[in-house]
Amino acid sequence: MNLQKKRILILGANSDIAKALCVQFAKAGANLHLASRNVKELEKSANDLRIRYGVEVNVSELDALIPVSRTQIIDNVYPQIDGAVLALGVLGSQTEAQKSEGLREQVLQTNFNVAIHLLEPLAALFEQRRAGFVVGISSVAGDRGRASNYMYGAAKAGFSAYLSGLRNRLASFGVPVLTIKPGFVKTKMTLGLPLPGKLVATPERVAADIMKALAGKKDVSYTPWFWKPLMTIIIHIPERIFKGLKL
């Protein structure tokens, strides 16, 4: 995929994976539009990308849980873009989410409803244009619910299913939809969590894998690669055994 001068929207651009991905896009000569809640931080990232790579970078405030904020992006930014990455998401504490409806709501809303509300208008636009591409960052957590993070996992499972449907819908219009399923990544999101050292990837690694998947016209891509065989095994463990495992 030639990304030179392509205008790419990054939804949730302050996430560490998004930042690493911006670097990759900028290196490929793409222009960027960054959207996130913290505009002050975004401006700094934008400046850095402009200076480092000489690409155009625009910035928009997006508080994804607020409908008007989404509408502003949809109305003002969407018409100008050639491709989009949805990188926003929130992990939330599983144990807290079990107790608090508020937190549950936030995890489910951000990772599922909001993602769909943001992508659906884009899908309509790209369908009409018969051009564009969508990258959705889901998670291996959506492949099978586990006690340690099934709220997040359930939302991501829904999001993965959504992306699969969207891909099916847009395929005949020549609009690729790429589902990315990262495993454990060392980011702000996982800061302080006890991660299994050997399985943890850097955001840079994930970003490089996303670029490869885009170039290779992949549909679903696990990153790093070993999550694919790993999840294949996990998915196929009989529920009778799976329910007794500590995962």
């Binding site: 931080e41 700094k44 990232s45 400046n47 850095d48 200076i51 480092r52 790579y53 000489g54």
Partner: protein, 432 residues
């Protein structure tokens, strides 16, 4: 977590607080009783070691760039390699650079590093317009030669002991090519080496690789490399590395025999007299950076880098003696580097002063420290001084003799209430 710097000695148990935003830095300094700021950990000894480390390494953003003046503003954790990767292809270069590009801007200022053009340009601080400095109470000062000037002369070369550098503005210089026109001069002894340095004093860049294991009439023989940026040519540049040294490098491979062989071969392969080469920026400025983790070749025991400068007048006699002593000891390294400095600047603890500086590595083992103690005494005899960025062991009495402004530095730290808030193993050892 066990933490060490480039020399892998000493190793201490330290907690690292990594920061990006001003708020994170503020929280870190306010919550720490005693700490030292840290960049990429490429100082050799104990300058950036303390039980509590505040790392500016994650703060790696470029903040502003003016293509008409070459002024770049960036966060303290930006590495010289990042600047090169972005700006060499656009025809800009660092106005001065040390022998590695894997150091942070904050570290470059705190160590007031120097390079092959010290005699024609000065130290890294000469490229600095201003910087933002966070004090232990979380307040932020703008520091330049005219705004808070006391903080400028104490912070440049101040080894992080005055606060945390958050960001800085530096001025880059124009280059027409990423290639260098180099002249290599082969000399047979120290006398010829000095004559060659002085003959080439108007070349913008100069440095000598010196055979520190040579003895007798060959003491001080060297390959002097001088040069400047080529006037035309491509601007290609990358930070690719060739190989990584494994952590379990067998330490017996580095012994006096193999070092002697290396030095003899390296010296022998250069043509007699003067020869000309066209080489890239990486080969000219950063020959070792091509090997990732090269410090591992000295093994788990680590190594010490020893760097001192002697005043111009006593340089010849002093170096003759000191090189003789090192040659006799049979210890020494691949990497003995000699350079003629220009004038000192007014920063209290900046290392360079007019005269010859010698830097070399010693693998750390039982017999090393007594040799270094003997060398210390000789350096002092000839009125020399030591470089904090390389040091892990010099005594307080030895160190302070070389720095006339040291008491002003100490008084400033005391007056600003920094002495117990910001400290490193080195500052404690030297009473800074």
């Amino acid at each position: 977590m066990n933490t060490t710097s480039w020399g892998r000695y000493p190793v201490i148990e330290a907690e690292t607080l990594s920061c990006v935003s001003d708020d994170q830095f503020r929280q870190a300094v306010q919550s720490s009783d005693g700490f030292i700021p840290r960049g990429n950990g490429r100082s050799y000894g104990d300058s950036a070691l303390s039980p509590k480390l505040i790392s500016a390494l994650p703060a790696q953003r470029f903040l502003a760039w003016d293509n008409s003046t070459g002024v770049l503003e960036c966060e303290a954790g930006v590495l010289l390699a990042d600047i090169l990767a972005s700006f060499v292809p656009r025809g800009w270069f660092l106005p001065t650079t040390p022998g590695t590009k894997w150091i942070s801007i904050g570290g470059a200022i705190a160590c007031d590093v120097h390079g092959k053009n010290h005699h024609s340009f000065g130290c890294f601080s000469d490229a600095v317009l201003d910087f933002r400095l966070m004090l232990p109470d979380g307040s932020i000062l703008n520091v330049s030669r005219t705004e808070n000037p006391e903080w400028f002369v104490t912070t440049c070369g101040g080894m992080g002991l005055t606060g945390v550098i958050l960001s800085a503005r530096i001025t880059l210089k124009r280059i027409a090519s990423s290639y260098m026109d180099q002249v290599t001069t082969k000399t047979a002894n120290l006398k010829e080496t000095f004559a060659a340095f002085e003959r080439h004093q108007h070349d913008p860049y100069s440095v000598a690789w010196i055979d520190c294991l040579a003895t007798g009439s060959k003491v001080g023989r060297c390959l002097l490399m001088t040069g400047d940026h080529a006037q035309s040519g491509s601007l290609d540049f990358n930070n690719k590395m060739l190989a990584t040294v494994p952590d379990m490098f067998p330490s017996f491979t580095l012994n006096s025999l193999s070092m002697q062989a290396f030095n003899t071969l390296y010296y022998g392969k250069a043509p007699k007299g003067e020869s000309k080469q066209k080489i890239g920026i990486n080969s000219f400025f950063y020959p070792l950076d091509i090997i990732s983790e090269w410090n591992r070749i000295y093994g788990r025991q680590g190594f010490l880098q020893y760097q001192f400068v002697l005043p111009f007048a006593s340089s010849y006699e002093g170096l003759n003696k000191i090189l003789g002593e090192i040659g006799k000891s049979g210890r020494g390294s691949f990497l003995a580097v000699l350079k003629l400095f220009g004038k000192a600047n007014s920063n209290y603890l900046s290392f360079p002063e007019e005269g010859y500086t010698l830097a070399l590595d010693f693998k750390r083992d039982a017999g090393l420290f007594p040799l270094l103690d003997r060398l210390d005494a000789m350096v002092l005899d000839y009125g020399g001084r030591f470089y904090l960025t390389k040091d892990a062991r010099v005594s307080k009495a030895t160190f302070e003799k070389g720095y006339p402004h040291i008491d002003e530095f100490r008084a400033w730290r005391e007056k600003q209430g920094l002495t117990n808030k910001i400290w490193s193993l080195q500052s404690r050892r030297l009473g800074l």
